[in-house]
């Protein structure tokens, strides 16, 4: 899958793995791709810290919906050896490839990965972006423009 990836896109994937490991996640999820992108893509409009805060708020709200308060738990981040790609990040990368094909781009760049991540209609990423006040459709449109062509 990775042979069409630019250096830039490969760096994003590698950075996503580092984000997952840093946060103690045994899996690389779509939100780790988003965190990696937010760390470098000015086009998103929110930085990594803001995305991280939104992800925490999303988790707290989701747990609160079933009557669980996170401060009840004092859990250290797990020591992760090597995070694996989970279904959500694989799907985001597949969608990134599809976005590149749809644009007739021969190479896949970081912007395509952002499009792939933003394509999710449900789940952690769209919920966290909504909490961060990010308009997904608007961000998608801006990303398309930033990719040029």
């Amino acid at each position: 899958m990775f042979e069409r990836f630019t250096q830039d896109a490969r760096a994003v994937v590698k950075a996503a793995e580092a984000q997952a490991a840093q946060l103690g996640s045994p899996t690389i999820e779509a939100e780790h791709l988003l965190l990696a992108l937010a760390d470098r893509e000015a086009v998103i409009g929110v930085d990594r810290e803001e995305v991280l805060k939104a992800l925490e708020a999303e988790r707290d709200r989701s747990l609160a919906a079933v009557g669980i308060a996170v401060p009840d738990f004092d859990l250290p981040p797990a020591a992760v050896t090597r995070p694996r790609f989970a279904a959500s990040s694989k799907l985001a990368l597949e969608r990134a490839l599809r976005a590149a094909v749809a644009r007739s781009d021969r190479r896949l760049a970081g912007g395509h990965i952002l499009l792939g991540v933003l394509a999710a209609e449900a789940g952690t990423v769209p919920r966290a972006l909504a909490l961060a006040g990010v308009d997904r459709d608007d961000l998608r449109a801006r990303t398309q423009v930033a990719l040029g062509g």
Binding site: S62, I68, T81, A122
Partner: protein, 68 residues
């Protein structure tokens, strides 16, 4: 008792499932490490978790070894 009234919006309910799974995984990491530190055997930990010894060993041995 925890009030487990289901959230009305399925999106909230499904997001709660995701968050609960992550929380359970984190809690498992901590508690398995603690049990082993207290001298529990892998077999006893597995029995307490209701999984096979192979399953618990596969999931945690490498991680705990890496941590030292």
């Amino acid at each position: 008792m925890i009030d487990l009234e289901a959230p009305r919006d399925p999106a909230d309910g499904l997001a709660a499932v995701v968050a609960l799974r992550r929380l359970a995984d984190q809690l498992e990491d901590v508690e398995v490490a603690r049990a082993l530190g207290d001298g529990w055997t892998w077999s006893l930990v597995a029995e307490a978790l209701g999984v096979t010894r192979q399953a618990v060993h596969k999931k945690h041995a490498k991680r705990l070894k890496a941590r030292g």
